[in-house]
């Protein structure tokens, strides 16, 4: 605002309408197909679930021994589990751990990965060498087996701990991909022109290179976000992580190994509910990644 405030009124008016037109066109891209609207709605619903879900139910969900594996009904829209606990309640209260941990991991990954990748690609010698050593190291260690080994000494009880570990072990992929793109972009004409003009490296990276790698990063991050969700759910699925409260992964583990959901149709709802939630959030994230792709890369837009 400080820049536009000093402009004469008519120019200010133009700048404002330009920015309004831009956000309007972004909105049009977002709502272009019903699938995208649904994806946006799904992400919003799950975010709300993660934010307020745990406050809607008592801390210890009621169990009811006379009502186990109840089929879906008005009282229990998704039925009940092996202890007679409402599955919908389990889903709603279990969302926070899964989504919060994945979100924290994604933020850590985004910040470390993009910064390291851009820097290493633009200054391959001074900054790139040591950074890529570290990146190679992080990448060389396969995440899931590492998490399995770490689970023996690290408590994954809170989403913050889970998210931090997932993020710190998971940024290598983005860093490497961004570096590869930056290395290649660096040789392109427009970047050489910007450098030839004497723009500082910070500015060349920020305004010339970053917009070109952003679609790739957003695509990659969405895929990684879904990856984080599977990984944490997978740790609970294998039953090697101690947990203090139930979440989707614990539900899957119980469904497959305790309730024999694969051979026992009465516990099908118990298996399918967390599974469908994971699928829904994943597909929505990928759809939104495509929207981001179109917004960042005008050449992809359908006229």
């Amino acid at each position: 605002m400080s820049v536009t405030a000093s402009l004469p009124p008519e120019q200010l008016q133009q700048a404002l309408s330009r920015s309004r037109a831009r956000s309007a066109s972004r909105w049009r891209i977002l709502v272009r197909t019903p699938g995208r609207v649904i994806a946006l709605a799904v992400v919003i619903i799950f975010t709300l679930m993660a934010l307020v879900g745990p406050y809607l139910y008592p801390k210890n969900l009621p169990i009811n021994a006379s009502d186990i594996y109840a089929p879906p009904s008005l009282a229990h829209p998704l039925g009940t589990d092996f202890a007679g606990t409402d599955i919908l309640a389990l889903i709603v209260t279990g969302a926070r751990y899964v989504l919060l941990a994945a979100f924290i991991a994604a933020v850590v990954t985004l910040v470390i990965g993009t910064a390291a990748g851009l820097g290493a690609g633009y200054y391959p010698r001074s900054f790139g060498r040591p950074i890529m050593r570290v990146t190679d190291f992080v990448l060389a260690i396969p995440g899931f087996p590492l998490l399995m080994v770490l689970s023996t000494i690290w408590s994954f009880g809170s989403p913050l701990q889970m998210g931090l570990v997932l993020g710190i072990t998971g940024w290598g992929g983005i860093a490497r991909a961004v570096r590869a793109q930056t290395l290649s972009l660096r040789e392109r004409g427009f970047v050489e022109a910007a450098r030839g003009l004497g723009l500082p490296g910070r500015r060349v990276i920020g305004t010339e290179i970053l917009p070109n790698v952003a679609p790739y990063v957003s695509m990659n991050l969405m895929i990684q976000l879904t990856g984080f969700i599977y990984t944490e759910v997978g740790l609970f699925f294998l039953g090697i992580v101690k947990y203090s409260s139930s979440n989707w992964g614990v539900m899957l583990n119980n469904a497959v190994f305790q309730a024999d959901a694969l051979t026992n149709p009465r516990s099908l709802s118990y298996l399918l509910s967390p599974l469908i939630c994971i699928l829904a959030i994943t597909i929505s994230l990928v759809t939104l990644a495509n929207v981001g792709d179109e917004i960042f890369n005008p050449r992809l837009r359908r006229i």
């Binding site: 190679d136 990448l139 060389a140 396969p142 991909a177």
Partner: protein, 330 residues
């Protein structure tokens, strides 16, 4: 000359990485709640062993003696490691860890390599198709299928495959590697049985990777499609097949990065798939040793996984400049 130096640097880096991980494993074994080596030592003393006997037994298990000063324990551990001595299993008493992991590794390797090759071929083909047809129903359809397959966690894919093709329809065996009815060797029955047992796990691997290939190939090809030189090539009337070659060559770079990542990722999928299909590979071994608190095997299997991934990355690094000449130039 420059190339040999570069390769030498890469090899040294790899060795340093292995050394760092091995040292981390050493510290982990010592810091682990209850310090397994210490606990074992105390147990043996309680059983009436002399301190010397107990020391020798713990050293055989873990590669270091818990009563020594830290630096000597570490030296002993590294020395044993250099002789490829990973200690002994606690669960299967007296069996060297190197023997256990060496029997497990080939299963994982065969599974993973077939899965990676199959998913790469299928995924890249579908990804290119969906990028070229991205304005049509076919392209959208492929993207959706890719997203959905990518959205189903490996453990669910594996469980469902097992349920449908082994329980419901019983086309394929429930799990394991080969039926005991056949004598091992190069005879049709044995090989055929090995393959029938491998079909479901390999399919699960392929499905777990193919979605990511489709999505990344599509994204990568689309970003190349927007480039001016492709437009110029099309305007010049160059044959579509040649243009497709230009596109693929340029789209390969990010894909190739992901391929080398997939080599590391494959061990994660391996854990779930081997667990579900009861396939005695490294992932299964890792899980068993974790559940049994068999720390020497745990650390041995983990080290082997790390070393394989480091070697795979090294090979990928070697091939990197061959694919993108722009990288070679800098």
């Amino acid at each position: 000359m420059k190339l040999t130096r570069w390769i030498a640097v890469k090899i040294v880096t790899g060795l340093i990485m292995i050394w760092v991980v091995a040292s981390a494993m050493f510290l982990l074994l010592r810091w682990m709640p209850g310090n397994p080596a210490q606990t074992r030592y105390a147990e043996l003393i309680l059983h009436g062993d002399t301190p010397q006997q107990a020391q020798r037994a713990t050293a055989a298990l873990y590669g270091f003696i818990p009563k020594q000063p830290l630096i000597e324990q570490y030296g002993h551990y590294i020395w044993q490691l250099l002789h490829l001595n990973l200690g002994q299993s606690i669960q299967e008493e007296g069996v060297p860890v190197s023997h256990i992991v060496a029997t497990a590794a080939p299963w994982t390797l065969i599974m993973c390599l077939s899965g990676i090759v199959a998913s790469f071929l299928i995924g890249v083909t579908l990804g290119v198709a969906s990028a070229l047809r991205r304005m049509t129903k076919v392209g959208d359809g492929i993207t959706w299928v890719g997203a959905i397959i990518n959205g189903i966690p490996t453990y669910i894919v594996a469980s469902l495959l097992l349920y449908v093709f082994a329980t419901e329809w019983a086309i394929f065996p429930q799990g394991g590697t080969v039926s005991i009815l056949y004598t091992p060797g190069w005879n049709a029955g044995y090989i055929g049985n090995l393959i029938t047992h491998a079909v479901l796990p390999v399919t699960a691997y392929t499905l777990s990777l193919v979605g990511a290939w489709i999505l990344t190939t599509k994204s990568s090809v689309i970003s190349v499609l927007g480039d001016d030189f492709i437009l110029a090539a099309e305007l010049r009337g160059i044959r579509p097949l040649t243009v497709a070659r230009y596109i693929l060559r340029n789209a390969m770079l990010p894909l190739f990065t992901i391929l080398s990542l997939a080599l590391g990722l494959m061990f994660s999928g391996a854990v779930f798939i081997e667990d579900v299909f009861n396939y005695p590979g490294l992932g299964q071994q890792l899980l068993t040793s974790l559940n049994d608190n068999d720390y020497p095997v745990l650390s041995g299997a983990f080290l082997l996984i790390i070393v394989s991934v480091i070697i795979a990355n090294f090979l990928a690094d070697l091939a990197y400049p061959l694919i993108d000449p722009r990288v070679r130039r800098s």
